[in-house]
Point group: C2
């Protein structure tokens, strides 16, 4: 845990299921908001009576207090219908905490209420817990386990594309049915669910759909076009994410697409060579971009659309899918234990889209790839 920066206590009020900092602090996934207080002496969760037992047995906090008990206390002290602030006030008074450290996303409703009661607040921006960036061995293992499931899902999608037949209409058919982006996503999501992993916003973007890097993709899959597949599930068990992308073509890729693939692969390899403790994310991104430019792939606005390489090289992955650091125009310094994606891409309206993405953990001497899935040029075109 972080130090308190001169404050008496850290306070969070949130649903840990949607607030990774609170989950990190408590290791307890709750769908409804609860109060968390951390002093130098203890970590405290104030739970509704229905969640008390579960919090006591599952969370990593030292003390689980009953919200109902404090509500009754507040009522005895004269509060007619005690509010969450009345309860929090009592807990903080007991601990003698007046100066509070809160995260940037702390709700203004509670911030104003605490200030009106005489508390002072220090607001800390992301990363609220800097330690969250440096993954422990157990965290790296959890992320790698999610990546194993991701690889199985990707493998299932690629197998389906391999098994599909190209018919005379130029479309792919599997077991007599048109093979669609939707069908490929379902194949992946079912495989992920077998491993208790859930992916949202999965991208299967055939042809020019992929030229918008965030287009989720839909409709039939056509032969001889790029198919960008990008999937980033979370394990329901560990709550850690993984992330990977591959691009394939069923049939024959155009010479330009093939050249794009080679360039993206080289750029990705160069990026991974540069990743190590203390490396600068911005410099890595510039170098990755340089590889693509040297191969003749420039980035600019063409026909009102950005084309070339116009997103970051990578981002942190952990309890959130997008965490610090960024490896991009605004990247910072990498440290051993950071888990980051390396995902250059190229996007051209006259050719299609290529993105290749692995997930690596930064080490003192370089990085260790947590991804085990083929990406050689020989894997790009599928017969």
């Amino acid at each position: 845990m972080e130090e308190l920066s001169g404050c008496d206590a850290t306070v969070m009020i949130s649903a840990s299921e949607i607030d990774a900092n609170l989950y990190y602090a408590t290791r307890f996934a709750a769908p409804d908001p609860f109060i968390f207080v951390q002093t130098s002496a203890e970590k405290i969760a104030v739970m509704s009576d229905l969640e008390l037992d579960r919090a006591k047995s599952q969370s990593s906090v030292d003390t689980v207090l009953s919200y109902g008990a404090y509500e009754r206390m507040a009522r005895q002290k004269g509060a007619d219908a005690p509010s969450l602030l009345d309860v929090l006030d009592l807990v903080l008074q007991e601990r003698g905490a007046r100066h509070l450290l809160v995260p940037g996303n702390f709700g203004v409703e509670y911030a104003d209420g605490l200030r009106a009661r005489g508390y002072t607040l220090s607001v800390k921006r992301e990363p609220f817990f800097e330690a969250r960036l440096v993954k422990s061995d157990a965290e790296v293992e959890a992320i790698a386990a999610t990546q194993r499931a991701t690889e199985e899902a990707m493998g299932a999608a690629v197998s389906a594309i391999r098994a599909a037949r190209i018919e005379s209409d130029g479309l792919l058919y599997l077991d007599g049915e048109q093979l669609t982006a939707e069908a490929l996503k379902k194949i992946m999501h079912m495989k992920l669910m077998e491993h208790e992993c859930v992916a949202q916003h999965t991208i299967v973007a055939p042809g020019l759909q992929g030229v918008d890097p965030h287009h989720h993709g839909n409709g039939p899959i056509r032969a001889n076009e790029s198919i960008v597949i990008d999937v980033f599930p979370r394990s329901e068990r560990s709550r850690y994410y993984a992330d990977m992308s591959r691009t394939v073509v069923k049939g024959k890729a155009s010479p330009k697409l093939r050249a794009m693939y080679r360039a993206v692969l080289s750029a990705q390899e160069r990026g991974m060579e540069l990743i190590r403790d203390e490396a600068d994310g911005r410099a890595i991104h510039a170098e990755v971009n340089g590889v693509l430019e040297k191969d003749g792939f420039t980035t600019c606005m063409l026909g009102g659309r950005m084309q070339g390489f116009f997103h970051g090289t990578g981002h942190g992955v952990g309890l959130d899918i997008h965490e610090p650091p960024r490896i991009g125009k605004t990247g910072g310094v990498l440290r051993s234990g950071y888990v980051v994606t390396v995902e250059p891409g190229l996007y051209y309206l006259d050719a299609g889209a290529i993105r290749i993405e692995d997930l690596v953990v930064v080490t003192a001497a370089g990085c260790r790839n947590l991804t085990n899935f083929p990406k050689e040029i020989s894997e790009f075109e599928i017969e």
Copy 2:
């Protein structure tokens, strides 16, 4: 949309994927935070360049602005490394908005920043959009569609219990394997995923585990014990939740368990009789509790544990799994179009647990049950 209560604009900054109000206002699911501004004239989303196209084609806002373009504008005006507040400031200046309406969960970091720049903030608590409580026909349909998937999942679990054999160790076996709570959850989650629905915190609580209503349940399933099954998935397509619970026994239930089941069923039926436009949630809860008490099932602390009926009768369901209103000790008035659960339960350490939960939509004359799954006493014991 709601009126602005005398403010110039509503402002939200959040990831709509975890903030149902923002999703409701934009109908756009984004995993990363973005700026939303609503004036009396227009709804505006300020999106990163990567999300621009998707927001334009998918969201319900009138205007999608490029975050990058405003960042460049801020740089021209002298900001060295423009922050999100610099961007928001420009957008608000353009619209002449000074007095802002924000939700209670608006981040204190941005609230303080806006106030420091001379903006005034009116903070509105939940329900931020009162209209969210009243479901349109399309919303009711979406919730009902999720409930259809939920019924299939529940059916799959009950079928597995039915197909299982009781062996001499008193445990259930299916296809030669011990039938566990984990296996039943997986059966349900796979079935839900077929319908693009995802459930978290699914409860399959055998025997005394179920006496803690929030215990998720684990381990082998035993004959002649209550098995509480409570599943509340969200559709990945519509983003609307559903919710249902059933309790079954494989083999023979004890007389007390059977009496508990009958009482809970009567209490639930009584609750549903009372639900209608303008009915008071607190009165309904009291009446439901009264049915249980009349049948001799009292609620009290016994051996350090609450026993009897000690949770609410119901809660709203929509884009969040727990929405206003509550039908419970702190319930409010029901209105036509509210979608609520009706889920009394009984929990005793000397017998086990019973919970029966349906999902209904409030109408002028009563309520319409959105749940179509048997719950008669004849369905309780499974041969």
